[in-house]
Symmetry: C2
Subunit: 360 residues, 2 copies
């Protein structure tokens, strides 16, 4: 078996020990005689998995006691609708900060349920920076202020936490959750699709401050009513049990790596090596403002798009896959989430230098 | 490794060869160097898995060309809301047939989006039968007529296909899909949560006639808009990729067992053995009308509820789990979906006789 270096933007690489444990436990989870996939979600075995997974997440993110953790289905795109369904609290508008493709999707979807104000936008720089706090125009009556903490496509990341005063801050953290310590108490709500740093696609985490619950619009499907989910510990219906189990294994792996401080150090080292390589090169370029560059998704360009196909082909021949950039941005993109090892970035950097020497 | 006989109502037993193949392919799917969980949903590997899974389902159910197959998230309870969001087509009411707990949930949820008429109900028999077609009062202007083809909790199943004239018939088939041949052309829409006969929880199948698409309510989240999903082959966002992969393995296993005819024979034999045992006994009783008994979920009662705990304890000691009935019905329930082997039913029947001999 040869494992590739997988730079996919999501679903993305998982830690090898997690996959090995999942394989070993597939037909018989710890002497239960069942696969986790086969377990009644209300049986003692799965209830223990859910409780342990939740406890690990609370520990890793140091989630305060006045927050609820929900395990949901539907993905982050689904949450873009479910969020305003639940969080308007009788108000008729919400503020959004536009930093790229994912915040754009959030803005479009929210418009079905409320008036959407764009409090700040990076459009002028073609979404290559995060609008500085000073440029934000927050409506004090807004139900919340929404940000995308890491734009997976554009490769732009917040390295600071916005101050939105009394208006709750909401963050789509799908592509950088668990990559560094976060002060959860600064947020009203955090959501994240699982398929980057958490586990398999089909699971979405929501972490929400209790006082914001209880005002879902009447049209909210009951399985997407945060308050109803919180009251039933995410068990209104059958949750995505196997995805929750894998998430628990990933959380344990993160803990074993030194928790979020450990992940932050590793991610900084990986991203640093890649950006240093880009900056030292007269060949590759990064489109993103230096202070807002993502540690998770690194878009870069070759001097001539005509070289892209050859670059990708050579990478694949060396066991490096999914380096093609998103069509909106073009060029290349290396997604280097938690589970992408330093060895993958070292291999990529070595190949980039080799390719530059040949074509530079 | 000792596998138990798992009578869970869902998530439920999966075929052992499927689990073995999943374990073997966990870290490296067919030489790709990746787990299926790690694959970009838009990469060639996963695209081939999705296409193969869909083709197998179309083959097994003989789905006509004018139907769309959608792989969705959210579960059947989510579909109870998503269905009226999509299928009202400018009408303001829908008809529902009330046969137990699951149709009750469907009725309650639909009430958020339209007027709900109960076209027939089995309430008079405490939901132990399917109301005969002659008793149905269908509104010819209804957007659709909804049935639950198998009530998982009550153990009541349709062994006939209702004739609803020009009003599209919609069926929640979560707990009996793929257990026998079905004439899909008699239905406007079929939906089914995966965690009984399809695969892991977190995936929901929708099979919908094309002419019913395109009229979603403006409040429909884009990820739950059938037309939008159909136009994008279920890939608006990241689908639950690993659950789809396992579903594909299960579909192949069903095909290898002789397809739905093969499954129907096996299920008839399993259910027949269990019901014959109940009927021949003066000890155990089945609460369900003989002609409407489910081949998937078999509730039964001991003569005295005080014996229930001992029965369950003895079953567990013999490697048989999840036989406790749902609290709404009480007593016992053996769920004997496709993947529950004949050997499990034989072991259960032997134990039931042993227990009867001791306590009868």
């Amino acid at each position: 078996m040869t494992r590739v270096f997988n730079f996919s933007a999501g679903p993305a690489a998982l830690p090898e020990p997690v996959l090995q444990q999942a394989a070993a436990e597939m037909s018989d989870w710890r002497g239960s005689g069942m696969s986790v996939m086969e377990m009644s979600h209300r049986g003692k075995e799965f209830m223990s998995i859910l409780a342990e997974t939740k406890a690990l997440l609370i520990e890793l993110l140091n989630i305060p006691a006045n927050y609820k953790v929900l395990f949901m289905q539907g993905g982050a795109l689904g949450q873009n609708a479910i969020l305003p369904m639940n969080l308007l609290r009788g108000r008729n508008s919400a503020d959004y900060v536009h930093t790229g493709e994912w915040s754009k999707k959030s803005i479009e979807e929210a418009g079905k349920y409320c008036r959407v104000r764009v409090a700040a936008t990076a459009e002028a720089s073609r979404f290559t920076h995060v609008p500085p706090q000073g440029s934000w125009d927050i409506d004090p009556h807004a139900a919340y202020v929404h940000i995308c903490s890491n734009e997976t496509i554009g490769g732009v990341e917040y390295h600071w936490t916005p101050d939105t005063g009394d208006v709750p801050l909401v963050a789509d953290m799908s592509s950088n959750i668990l990559s560094k310590p976060v002060d959860v108490s600064r947020y009203g709500l955090i959501y994240a699709g699982a398929q980057k740093n958490i586990g398999p696609a089909g699971l979405t985490l929501v972490i929400v401050r209790e006082d914001l619950l209880g005002s879902a619009l009447p049209i909210t499907p009951q399985v997407f009513d945060y308050q109803h989910l919180a009251a039933n510990d995410s068990m209104i219906n059958t949750p995505p049990t196997y995805a929750i189990y894998i998430a628990g294994l990933v959380f344990q792996w993160i803990k074993d790596q030194g928790g979020l401080e450990g992940m932050a150090r590793l991610n900084q080292a990986k991203a640093g090596l890649l950006y240093d390589t880009l900056d030292a090169s007269g060949f590759y370029t990064s489109p993103v403002a230096r202070e807002d560059r993502s540690r998770m998704n690194v878009p870069f360009r070759l001097p001539d798009p005509a070289l892209d196909a050859e670059f990708l082909k050579g990478a694949e021949a060396r066991g490096m896959v999914q380096l093609k950039g998103h069509r909106v941005v073009g060029g290349m993109r290396a997604s280097i989430y938690n589970a992408v090892p330093m060895a993958a970035v070292q291999a990529l950097v070595a190949y980039m230098k080799e390719f530059e020497a040949k074509h530079g």
